[in-house]
Amino acid sequence: MKLVYFAWVREKAGLSTEDVTPPADVTDVAGLIDWLKGRGEGYGEAFADLDLVRVAVNQSHVDLDHALAASDEVAFFPPVTGG
């Protein structure tokens, strides 16, 4: 599973992209975030307030209960501010 991070979520997580293989009990976005938070302090800070984090799977916006597959590209970022 490919993870990508943008803006301050990237800065707090401390990296912009990584390939991970979460355990089998990680089945949705919320589960993935829980698992990531256990991997280090940076993730804890990035995901401290989930109201401020947006998620895209395979480049489409999704909610926290979105189911995941091993081949997914999952992106975490703050609410967008373009335009």
Binding site: F6, Q59, S60, F77, P79, V80, G82, G83
Partner: protein, 153 residues
């Protein structure tokens, strides 16, 4: 058509390209967004520059979906969305949206829809440089409200 680029754009040239040889367009509405120096406003310290980060791949997909939705909702002759990324200074262009239609109402509504949806759906983030350092621009509730106007029941 959509484009994501570091280079500046030329509104006059884009519209000339859009109208060249066509006689079906009655009205063209455009909106350009620029980097504004907010120095002097209460609590602000002035923006020296800003850097736009985006999500290559998803950005193009999101902008294409927004264009498709606009063409679905209004009878449009042409649509253009151009969004820049990278480092920009006050006065620089950030974004351009254009809608061309036989009818003025469709051109205006589609143009406003394009920028309203882009602001809440396209994956861009602004990092401002001020005299106090850098900070990520926070999303505005007013942008959500503007985008929500276009939601169908």
């Amino acid at each position: 058509m959509i484009r994501v680029q570091t280079e500046d754009f030329d509104l006059g040239a884009e519209i000339a390209r859009m109208t060249d040889g066509k006689t079906s367009i009655g009205g063209i509405c455009s909106f350009s967004g620029l980097v504004r120096d907010i120095v002097g406003e209460a609590g602000d310290t002035g923006v020296a520059a800003m850097t736009l980060e985006h999500y290559p791949g998803m950005t193009e997909k999101a902008l294409q979906e927004i264009e498709a939705e606009a063409r679905d909702r209004w009878p449009l002759d042409d649509v253009l969305i151009v969004h820049r990324y990278g480092r920009l200074e006050p006065g620089d262009n950030i974004v351009l949206v254009i809608a061309a239609s036989a009818h003025r109402d469709a051109a205006f509504d589609a143009c406003r829809f394009l920028i309203d949806w882009l602001k809440t759906k396209a994956p861009f983030w602004k990092l401002e440089e001020t005299t106090d350092g850098t900070n990520w621009v926070e999303a505005k509730e007013s942008d959500d409200t503007a985008a929500d106007r276009w939601n169908k029941d």
